[in-house]
Structures are given as structure tokens and as C-alpha cells.
């Protein structure tokens, strides 16, 4: 597994020596900043309700301002993982080094998640800003970020799988957008569905997922869902790499 760490280190370094990381980060800070500003402005314009909602709760998954950018940013972050290496031919030296497919996938996956965490670092600033003008429950903040990490495991794994399957980065990004979009839409269908299908949809709903976590409710079922979904995509990615050796 030390190979996984080696690959992750290189991958992270390559993210941050390429302009794409900074473009993504800058755009992300702009979009989340706008979202945060809108929410704060909205709350400032109405009398305190004393409810559990505050700008941070809504910021973490409570509005489409959170989800729409994510559905675009996640594919951009994962599209290069395998597709770029295949296009450049660098997958060949990588896969002929004495490293297992598992090690390669683990390294790439770790790197993608690290980048995901880096993406969320600037949002700590918003927590700090709110804390200066009101009470912030650190437990709620921690559970919000735990939810974000969980969503990251899920999104990065499926993005990685699409990148391993797709012939190039563009297709990888589009496929990832479609898959994550499908999960998202299926999830919010819970609000119109009835009976058992409603429960199933609520379980796979990233919206409900974050709604709980952003209010400080750590629901292990959602974490289990994240781990299962990412484990599945992770395993499939390993299989895709092994299959490519056979299919050529």
C-alpha cells in the first residue's frame, strides 16, 4: 500500500502544479462565497425565528446553491484521474511498475479526496465569520463537515470510476455529471414519492443526508450509504483496470 501513498502524493502535486486546480479553487470560492453572501443577506432581511436554521445550516446542503455547483465541480475534479493518463499514455509506465491495480486505484482515490477536502478549507472562513456575529455550535459544524467528507467519498469514487471507463476527460466529466445528477434527482424525488419508495429514495437522497448532518444529526445510515456506494465504485474501478489489461 506504500505505492498508493506514492501515487497519491504525485497526484496531489500534479493537481497543484497544473492551472486547473487553481481555476477550480477560484471558481469554487467565488460560487460558495456568492451562496454564503446570498444566505446571510436573506437571513439579515428577516426577523429572527429562533429556529434551528441559520446561514450555515442552509449553506451546507440546504439550498440548490450548494448542490448545483457540486454537481459540476465534482466531475471536473475527477475527470482527469484515469482518462488523462490514458490519453497521455502515462498509464502504461504506471501499470507496468510493480504495483497492483488496487494500489493504483487507492492512490488516485486518496488524492481525489484530499483535493475535495482542500476545496472545503476556504469555507471555514464562513464559519469564522458567523461565529463573530452569533453563536456557532462546533458540534454542528463538525457534523456538517463529516457529511461533506461522506459526500466526497461517494462523489469522488463514482467520478473515478467514470474516468476509468471513459475514453477521454470530457466524456468522463459528462458521465460523472449524469450519474451524480441521476442520484441527486432520484433523491429529491422523495419529496413527491409516496409509501415505501419514499423511504428508499430518502435513504439515497444526498439532500436529506446533508439536511441531517448540517443540523448536527449524525445518521450512521447515511455514512453507511456513502461507504457502500464508494466501496462499490472503488471495486469496479479496480475491475475496470484489470479488464483493460485483457481487452487492450
Amino acid at each position: 500500500m506504500s505505492a498508493a501513498w506514492t501515487i497519491a502524493k504525485r497526484e496531489i502535486r500534479s493537481y497543484f502544479t497544473s492551472p486547473i486546480a487553481y481555476v477550480v479553487l477560484l471558481a469554487w470560492v467565488f460560487v460558495t462565497g456568492l451562496s454564503f453572501y446570498t444566505l446571510v443577506f436573506w437571513f439579515a432581511g428577516r426577523p429572527s425565528t429562533g429556529g434551528s436554521d441559520n446561514p450555515l445550516t442552509l449553506f451546507f446542503g440546504g439550498t440548490v446553491l450548494f448542490w448545483l455547483p457540486l454537481l459540476v465541480f465534482a466531475p471536473v475534479m475527477t475527470m482527469r484521474l484515469f482518462a488523462a493518463e490514458r490519453a497521455a499514455g502515462t498509464l502504461e509506465p504506471l501499470m507496468t511498475a510493480p504495483v497492483s491495480e488496487l494500489g493504483i486505484v487507492a492512490g488516485k482515490y486518496l488524492a481525489a479526496n484530499v483535493f475535495w477536502w482542500v476545496l472545503w478549507l476556504p469555507t471555514l472562513l464562513y464559519v469564522w465569520i458567523i461565529s463573530r456575529y452569533g453563536d456557532v455550535d462546533l458540534g454542528t459544524v463538525a457534523s456538517s463537515y463529516l457529511g461533506v467528507v461522506g459526500i466526497g467519498l461517494f462523489y469522488m469514487a463514482w467520478g473515478m470510476l467514470m474516468s476509468a471507463l471513459a475514453p477521454n476527460q470530457i466524456v468522463a466529466a459528462v458521465l460523472t455529471f449524469l450519474v451524480l445528477g441521476l442520484f441527486f434527482v432520484a433523491g429529491i424525488m422523495q419529496f413527491v414519492a409516496i409509501d415505501t419508495s419514499r423511504e428508499v429514495l430518502a435513504y439515497i437522497s444526498v439532500w436529506s443526508h446533508m439536511a441531517d448532518f448540517s443540523r448536527g444529526v449524525v445518521d450512521s445510515r447515511y455514512l453507511l450509504f456513502d461507504v457502500t456506494m464508494s466501496g462499490l465504485a472503488f471495486f469496479l474501478t479496480v475491475r475496470v483496470l484489470a479488464w483493460r489489461r485483457v481487452a487492450g
Binding site: 506514492t6 504525485r10 497544473s18 509506465p93 511498475a97 489489461r245 485483457v246 481487452a247
Partner: protein, 359 residues
């Protein structure tokens, strides 16, 4: 060091490699020659584990490469075709990463990087960004990577393709330097490459081995061939003289002012002498006389075009070929001498050949 048995690779219904067998002994430098699309890269990719074979066995040293691909990869230094590298990295940074990936311990890593930089003669570019390097340097970075873990077996896919004549010469000198120390198996579609670097050659065409032997043996096979001449006299007189010459075939004569330019296919090592005698007997004069066809090119052309009819024949021919070469060691030496002479002016030839092949 490397043994391949009945190796097969099928892509859907297309068979890219059709049950090939060969072996490379320790310390040998063996060329893997064939036209584009013959299945060379596919074979190398199976040996290095990038592709899984459809059938057959690959033995790398003591290791069964199909059962234990990672173990086999530890024995191999591989330079893939086109030398794909991470362009945003610096050379030493890349090599350090590769050394780490190949499981070289932290302490030994720096030393391994320095050694391979030196072996591939790329020290002066160690701090440069790979994307800004010339193709020749990138090729050498790829070679340095292959040498990092000091593997006993080097697999090089088209190590000189796309390089200029000076770069080609230096890469070849590097490879020749490994003789006796490392086992090298390199693919190429450039014929002078084989003659310049390899002790033995395996020729692949349409996924099958169509010839095997040392370059001199293969040349010996094409002794005779085409004789070109320029003479003075009547066209009809030349026609008559050549008609009387036994074995003369595919005669082509052109009148060029008061000269006649001719091209005749004539077998045998004494082809030129016989043609000269025949022309002189007819009372005609020659200005120029030249034999062609002792190059590997002819062998290659013959093997890779005619053998399409039946590969079994080709293999039988091969055995004959080896026997003949053993019988005629002197002949082989002469031919090697001839090749050495030609080597004085190979740069231009190489370049044009390389360019032709590239397009």
C-alpha cells in the same frame, strides 16, 4: 532470461499475436523487428504485464510472468513506445517518484536516481521540466526510468523513433554498452538499428515469427540480388548479352543518351563478376557496376511479404538458414565487414529510413 511460448493475443476476433515462441539469453541484445502493426508492441506489453495474454507462457528469469506479473515487473525495466512521461514534473522529481513506485528504499533512492541519470547521460537536464525537453532527452529520461531499479532485463519499445541522427547514435551507443551486463529486448521497424545494436534478431510479421538469427546470417540469405550497371553500346547488344547470361532475370534496360542503364536480377555471390564477363565477351564496355541486395532490407522485404503465403515454410527456411550460416562462417564475416564499411555513412541513411517509417 526471457522465454516466450505460444504467446497469443486476441482483440475480439482479430489475432494480433498468433502463438509466437522465442527466447532471449542472459546478456544478449536482441532486436524485435517487424513492420508497423506486426504485433511488436502488443508482445512487449504482454511481457511487461500491461496487457494480459490470451494464451501462452512468459517466463522472466525464474518467474512465470502470467501467474506473478508484479514479480516479473520487478525484473524488468520497460520503456514504452513514445516514452510517455508526466510533462509537468522535473526530471529528478519524476525519477524519484518512479524509484519510490518501484519500491526502492528511501536511502537507496537518491543513489539510484543519480546512477540512472548518469547511465542515460541526462544529468545536465536533471532540474528541467520534462515538458520543455527535446524528444531525445525525453527518450533518455525514459531510459533512465527503465534503469532505475537496476533490472536484469530491459524491454525497449522503439527506443530511437523520432530522434535525429546524433540522438540515434548516442542512444544506440548506450544500448550497446549494456551488452553482457543486461539482457536487452528492443523493438524497432528501422533496419539499420538492428544491424547497429543487436546481436540477434527476431522478425515478426502479422503476429507470427517469420525469421530469426543474427543480422549477418539474415544478410547471407539475400546474397546476390540485383546488379545495376551503366554501359556504352547498342541496346540490342546488351539485350543479347544478358539473354545469354544464365540465371539473369527481370532485366530492365534504359537508353540514356549514348549510355545504357541496366538492372538485372542475378543470384549468387559472384553475380557482378559473371555479368561483367558476359558483357565483356559481347565486346561491350561498362562504366559502372554495382551489386545491391546484400542488405537486411531485402531479407525483411522477402520475409514480410512473401511469407504471407505460408508461415510454416518460413520456419523451415529458418533452420536451413542457420545451418548454412554455420557452414559458411567466412562468408558471414565478409558481410559483417561490408556492413561496417557502410556504417561510416549511416547517419543519412538512418535519417531517411526513420523518416520514411515515421510517415
Amino acid at each position: 532470461m526471457l522465454a516466450v511460448e505460444q504467446l497469443t493475443k486476441r482483440y475480439g476476433s482479430r489475432e494480433a499475436v498468433r502463438g509466437i515462441s522465442f527466447s532471449v539469453e542472459k546478456g544478449e541484445i536482441v532486436g524485435f523487428l517487424g513492420p508497423n502493426g506486426a504485433g511488436k508492441s502488443t508482445t512487449l506489453r504482454m511481457i511487461t504485464g500491461f496487457l494480459a495474454p490470451t494464451g501462452g507462457r512468459i517466463q522472466v528469469g525464474e518467474i512465470d510472468a502470467v501467474a506473478d506479473p508484479i514479480g516479473a515487473r520487478r525484473q524488468i525495466g520497460y520503456m514504452p513506445e513514445g516514452v510517455p512521461l508526466y510533462l509537468e514534473m522535473r526530471v529528478h522529481e519524476y525519477l524519484r517518484y518512479r524509484a519510490e513506485l518501484k519500491g526502492i528504499g528511501r536511502k537507496a533512492r537518491e543513489e539510484a536516481v543519480e546512477r540512472s541519470l548518469g547511465q542515460a547521460a541526462v544529468e545536465d537536464a536533471a532540474d528541467r521540466i520534462i515538458g520543455q525537453l527535446s524528444k531525445g532527452y525525453r527518450q533518455r529520461v525514459g531510459l533512465a526510468d527503465a534503469l532505475l531499479a537496476d533490472p536484469p532485463l530491459l524491454i525497449l519499445d522503439e527506443p530511437t523513433s523520432g530522434l535525429d541522427p546524433n540522438q540515434i547514435r548516442s542512444i544506440r551507443a548506450l544500448i550497446r554498452g549494456f551488452e553482457g551486463e543486461k539482457t536487452v529486448f528492443l523493438s524497432t521497424h528501422i533496419l539499420p538499428e538492428v544491424e547497429a545494436t543487436c546481436g540477434r534478431v527476431v522478425i515478426l510479421n502479422e503476429g507470427r515469427i517469420v525469421g530469426e538469427g543474427d543480422p549477418a546470417q539474415l544478410r547471407g540469405r539475400a546474397a546476390g540480388g540485383t546488379v545495376r550497371f551503366v554501359g556504352r553500346g547498342e541496346l540490342g547488344a546488351f539485350e543479347a548479352a544478358l539473354a545469354a547470361l544464365e540465371g539473369a532475370d527481370a532485366v530492365r534496360l534504359d537508353v540514356d543518351g549514348e549510355l545504357v542503364r541496366g538492372r538485372v536480377r542475378l543470384e549468387g555471390a559472384d553475380a557482378a563478376e559473371r555479368l561483367f564477363a558476359a558483357v565483356a565477351e559481347a565486346g561491350l564496355a561498362l562504366r559502372e557496376l554495382k551489386t545491391e541486395g546484400t542488405s537486411l532490407e531485402d531479407v525483411f522485404t522477402a520475409l514480410t511479404t512473401e511469407e504471407a503465403a505460408g508461415s510454416d515454410d518460413a520456419l523451415e527456411d529458418d533452420d536451413d538458414l542457420e545451418e548454412a550460416a554455420d557452414d559458411d562462417e567466412e562468408g558471414a564475416d565478409d558481410l559483417e565487414g561490408a556492413s561496417a564499411d557502410e556504417d561510416d555513412e549511416p547517419a543519412d541513411d538512418d535519417e531517411t529510413l526513420a523518416e520514411e517509417d515515421e510517415s
